[in-house]
């Protein structure tokens, strides 16, 4: 394995990181929107969201990805490998984020909401100033944890031809007839990445416990 090979794997790492970050940035607000729709019990929308989230949470990312990648072009929506990967990742993570957000919203004390109502705050103000800041804090560990899960499913994107860390490593293994070293290089990139995120999740959890105790 040459230096160029390691560089190729690092390039794959950039792809993995970019796709994960984009999916997180899209999935967080999308998950919140889904959770709010269920929390506010909007007629027709809420049960639809419940079924959507339930199905997505049960669907393996590979299956979802293959569905999008092959089925969308067949109904006339042209979609490339990277776009399909991004849509699949975002759909997947938004469903899990929705459940985290929803748990936070459900645990939100109702009296605060009513207090805000009684001092004449409007719906939007109540959400922005009272509910969301507190719910965000409570949800942070769960959301960060979800990011680590997201990164752990990204190798699947290679199935449709996205050249991420795993695909770069497998390709080099096939070229050099020695698959173990590049796979170990890939391992050495993933493990610190995921470990760092898991640490951040634990740290925010501890911080949260401290501020609540104080």
């Amino acid at each position: 394995m040459s230096a160029a090979d390691i560089l190729a794997i690092l390039q794959g790492a950039a792809t993995t990181a970019t796709l994960s970050l984009t999916a997180i940035c899209l999935g967080l607000p999308l998950g919140l929107a889904l959770a709010l729709a269920r929390w506010a019990n909007i007629p027709i929308v809420a049960p639809f969201v419940a079924v959507y989230v339930s199905i997505l949470r049960a669907t393996p990312l590979v299956t979802l990805l293959l569905l999008l990648f092959f089925a969308l072009p067949s109904i006339g929506v042209p979609i490339g490998a990277v776009a399909a990967a991004l849509v699949a990742l975002t759909m997947n993570t938004s469903a899990f984020n929705c459940e985290v957000w929803r748990a936070g919203l459900m645990n939100f004390p109702k009296d605060q909401f009513e207090a805000a109502q009684s001092v004449g705050m409007r719906r939007r103000q109540r959400l922005q100033r009272i509910v969301l800041p507190q719910v965000l804090r409570a949800c942070l560990p769960g959301l960060v944890n979800e990011i680590s899960l997201l990164i752990k499913v990204t190798p699947v994107l290679a199935v449709v031809g996205v050249v991420d860390i795993t695909r770069a490593a497998v390709r080099i293994g096939a070229e050099t007839y020695d698959p173990l070293p590049p796979l170990l290089v890939a391992l050495a990139i993933y493990v610190p990445m995921v470990y760092a995120i898991v640490r951040v999740a634990r740290l925010t959890e501890r911080r949260l416990a401290q501020t609540e105790a104080a």
Binding site: P60, L67, I75, P155, P179, Y195
Partner: protein, 218 residues
């Protein structure tokens, strides 16, 4: 569109055998991982620093690896070390070893939150050794761990889909074959998605059932 689903219906044998393989694979991996995890869990709680560090390192390290990469290492990487496994053995081994780490951590967590009083009360009533473990310690432990174990089983079912990349004929692989044979991607994969959904709903229902048993025992 209706025609596409009729084609999928025509291939139901292939799809059902894929579903069967997914179930068998997940079930075998769950049982094996639970057993190995139970064997590993005491190590995570060992008093001796060095052992504990080794066990915790193994479990935490494994949980930082993406499953697909782990499966690749087992299937493509191990032959470099002279260990050749066919795709079934490699897939099952990868699924089992990977989830052993999660199960060990789950069981450790469940054990840590168990109240001590019933355990001591068991001794006071004259239960000893295996009898004490089987009658007093194990039932509440399993019941309190059940919801988290159930979630992990769903994770195992979903992880098993990744094994399509090493050509294991599970549900996603069956859907892929049907799509490439007839070019009906939407019908083939939507059917697979719905079957996964049903599988997960069944697991959740099973866990809820156990939860009711646990509630009744309290």
């Amino acid at each position: 569109m209706r025609h596409d689903f009729l084609v999928v219906w025509g291939e139901r044998g292939l799809l059902l055998s894929g579903l069967g393989n997914t179930v068998v694979l997940s079930l075998a991996a769950t049982i094996a991982a639970l057993g190995l995890g139970a064997a590993l869990a005491p190590g995570l709680m060992a008093a001796r620093g060095r052992y504990r560090l080794a066990f915790t390192g193994f479990v935490d390290g494994l949980r930082c690896i993406p499953f697909l990469l782990f499966a690749y290492i087992v299937y493509y990487g191990l032959p470099s070390l002279g260990l050749n496994l066919d795709n079934w053995t490699a897939g099952l081994a990868a699924l089992t070893i990977y989830n052993t780490a999660y199960m060990a951590e789950i069981l450790r967590g469940a054990w840590a939150t168990q109240p001590r009083d019933p355990v001591d009360a068991g001794y006071a009533f004259g239960f000893t050794g295996v009898g004490h473990f089987r009658r007093i310690v194990l039932p509440p432990l399993l019941l309190s761990a059940a919801p988290v174990v159930g979630n992990q089983v769903i994770q195992i079912v979903k992880d098993s889909a990744f094994l399509t990349v090493i050509a294991l004929p599970e549900l996603t692989h069956a859907a892929s074959s049907i799509q490439s044979r007839h070019y009906i991607p939407f019908a083939a994969f939507i059917t697979a998605v719905l079957l996964y959904w049903m599988l997960c709903l069944a697991i959740e229902a099973g866990v809820a059932c156990l939860g009711r048993v646990a509630e009744a025992r309290r």
